[in-house]
Symmetry: D2
């Protein structure tokens, strides 16, 4: 149950079977740093590529294909005061006839005030002079090496995780990934100080971070898509285009979870979802969109959960 | 500011320029009843068609194309103890490869206990023996006569509203529809005792209701898609397939609303949505899907709102 | 087997149970005229609405729900020399990031030369000075009254036909519609002098026409979606968004057709389609898109066809 | 202008920067063999993986990022008599409500008769006893190493090509790929003896092949998506989900091509496409769908083409 401190020296723009930077045991924690989505660190020095450069990969001893890697996000701290966003919405989230009237998608600098717990855009319109956004730090892109020898860009996502940009992947969340290669090879980066649903501006408040996470290995449990939970909810995440397919993946994965771990038969699981399901559109900007299928834990209180 | 009591004798399966059943003034309230999605009333007597038969239309004196009809849902009471659902999920919300393994979509009877504030399926699996669903009544299908002389099936939805199946259309919600014909011609029906996101079982808990609503007319204000609000949030609803298009409609409508009524320029509105937007997948079962673009009112507290 | 000459005096912008303008018998032919998509006739006089105003409806004696109406397009003649298009492509057929660079969608006048068999844009760029388009006249919008009491805008399409904008709906084509109301109520209009796949400019060469068609009634044969054939091919047309759903409708309908009329079992029909199917994207501009599932008749030569 | 004979000893299931198996010069030809989609060779011996194992990569001397690799398919010969298909259609090409009625997707063996120029399923229903399919050999999966250090599964496709399953990628076709890495690194495999549009059975007639291709390098020409041509047509191929996005990519790429190589301004290119475009749904089964935007060469006869 060691706690490792790791300072990254290089960064990857694909998730794949890159050489591990650190080997950790089941139960260990890691404190490390991440650079922003364009590769700038806490000193705003360029040290990574232009597309969500990743810290890692971390090799988890004993992890094999067919296992599940469980990552608990203990802490995400913005380690610089500068963040940035795009000021206009992504073209694909408004009606095509409106695209030509939208504001240019210029880069805007933000000031992150960790003490006050909020962030403010530096250059903005008078209407937003008093506006600030509460900090709710999250990891935009993280996951494991994919199956089949693929190296997949950190611009997109898949069964292995990746650039899901889900605003519930914050402090206190626990995330489950299917292990596809020996050692699992966990990567993380692309921290956001805050972000609405769908990442519809094409960015959260992009910044660098110091992040602490712990690792747990669950041997011999099969999953198709990332799963997660926090104090209030359990959820599954489907990553695909269009939104329907992401929703289908997430819903199918939730049915599997309810049947495998909560002892529900298919009819009961369908009843439960029909009445209680919540869907979050996590990301509608990246090459693959991300949809979460979510249930409140109180709904599941009456059902015994497999350890 | 009269309160009308209206008992329907016939029901419509399209929203269109049907003969009005009652004429009401701006400010009036109406207490009426609705039959369930298959046309059964509080005595479980068949008195309407098989697809969301509607009570109405109510003619609002003075309403003209280019106005906005504002409907406040004061009360929805289930007026019988029997409800029903489908037990399996809709085929289109799971992966195509899983469709053949899904439970048959049989009709299940529920018992609605208004005093206890919950409902229970009568026939179900042992796993759900102790399961009950809190009542959260809502209107699945309501709206006004559409533009262009159309009569549109109550199975689907559009700019005029219709079968949106959004679980925030409950008691206390206020809904805004664009008026397309003289008198607006408001219809309502298809009450659900409760329903998860997306209506993914293809039903809520379908039942009949006694519903009270009040009417307000806003002259000369243009809207493209239904808008709504409750104590906590404002939201817009896009109705279309696929989900992306519904989301585009809802987002574009929200930009319009922020600019028209909250004094935000396009850049500020984009900033605000990028950080604070919430999306709800209201319905992913009907011929047109429904997506809500939602903002918490506290986010808007700093901006003056046009009356 | 009469041939009727009918000159329309009014036009409809919805397909629905409007009062018939003429009653015809099974086997009869009709010679009539259609106005252009904006309601202008052969003298360029405005006499219909702004959205595909229809000639009709024609009441077919003996047609009842559950029958099939068969319409053979014998002749479409452009009855004026002026046509028009939009000069830019529809926003939704290019990448969202390209929309802002696209040419404005101005209206362009064309000169239709029936003797030369081609059409030329009047105002255009030097690059197109020598360009002309061969005439291949077609009906953009035609169909029958829909089921369920709906009146559906001529901007869109559905199981009843409507604004399908399929460039194989030209002279010599035979089209089959499911009859949903007594008399079938056939409408036609929106002639195009020529059009590429998908109607991606948002228009064909829009013009008025003199059109001759004959009617045949097939009693007691069920269909879900429009079917058609010409000398070379049979095809089915699905009308929906997104393209996937239109393709699913068209493919399912073709399976039905092969099983019902060509004696193929589901396995054989699947084999045949897997090796020989052709898909046409008829329309990717209207509210509902249209996709044709098509088979060459020579592929079917070995299979006996039900009369 | 050498002709190389290359016999593959190993195969790749990703397109990426694998070690080259042969270095060829601009202008050279290669005669090589490919194994079938499940890795079986001309002797039906298993020698590759289960998902479209590729022959290659071939390193093209002088190719650099920013160049275009031009591959001319001179000959594809089925080098064994056995092929196979799936007998049922893919679940996603029929209405979700029909999925449960579809035939099981069993593997069917075919006999390929190169002399007779056709193929026949060995086990099939009586209805197809006399049915044979003309041979029209094609490459289902081929392309170059992708950009950004990605290694992408041969199950899917992208700007680099890959598993496009387009039935015009046959003998006589010339295909253009954007070069993303030094040497381009060309791969090929997954030959089909024949296939309908969309690969809706999830397979063509899968078999091994002897294939001859020649290479040409075009220095310093930028492209976004694969382009191709044969005697009759030029076409661009967009690879994405949903079909709309693939169509947007292909249409945008065709606009670029018309502007770059045929001297058309954006307005003229839009006119030309509006009247003459043809769309082919190449593949609607793989993780990314493929749509071709196609123009007949006779349409372009009046425009000078850049060499």
């Amino acid at each position: 149950m060691a706690t490792h401190r790791f300072t990254p020296a290089q960064f990857h723009s694909t998730l794949g079977a890159h050489a591990p930077v650190l080997r950790v045991q089941d139960g260990d924690s890691v404190i490390t740093t991440t650079v922003d989505a364009h590769g700038f660190d806490h000193d705003n020095a360029k040290c990574g590529g232009d597309t969500n450069p990743m810290t890692g990969p971390f090799f988890i001893e004993g992890a094999e294909p067919g296992d599940v890697l469980c990552v608990h996000i203990k802490r995400i701290r913005m380690n610089r005061v500068m963040g940035w966003t795009r000021q206009g919405l992504a073209w694909n989230v408004v009606d095509p006839a409106r695209v030509r009237e939208m504001p240019a998608r210029e880069r805007i600098t933000w000031r992150i005030d960790d003490n006050a717990g909020c962030a403010r855009p530096e250059t903005s319109t008078p209407a937003l002079a008093l506006w600030s956004v509460p900090l709710k730090p999250m990891l935009g892109c993280f996951g494991v090496a994919p199956a089949g020898g693929e190296f997949i860009s950190t611009a997109t996502s898949g069964p292995h995780g990746g650039n899901m940009d889900y605003n519930r992947f914050g402090e206190g969340a626990t995330v489950y990934f299917p292990v596809a290669v020996e050692g699992a090879l966990f990567f993380l980066g692309d921290a956001h100080a805050a972000q609405g649903d769908g990442e519809i501006a094409g960015t959260g408040i992009e910044t660098s971070s110091e992040t602490e996470f712990s690792i747990r290995l669950i041997k011999g449990r099969r999953m198709g898509w990332p799963r997660g939970e926090d104090d209030d909810c359990i959820f599954t995440v489907g990553n695909a285009r269009p939104i329907e397919q992401a929703l289908q993946h997430a819903t199918s994965e939730m049915l599997d979870w309810l049947e495998q771990d909560f002892g529900l038969d298919p009819v009961s699981a369908s009843h439960l979802l029909g009445m209680h399901v919540r869907y979050d559109i996590a990301n509608v900007f990246n090459p693959a969109f991300s949809v979460a299928c979510r249930l409140e834990k109180q709904v599941l209180a009456g059902f015994a959960r497999r350890a």
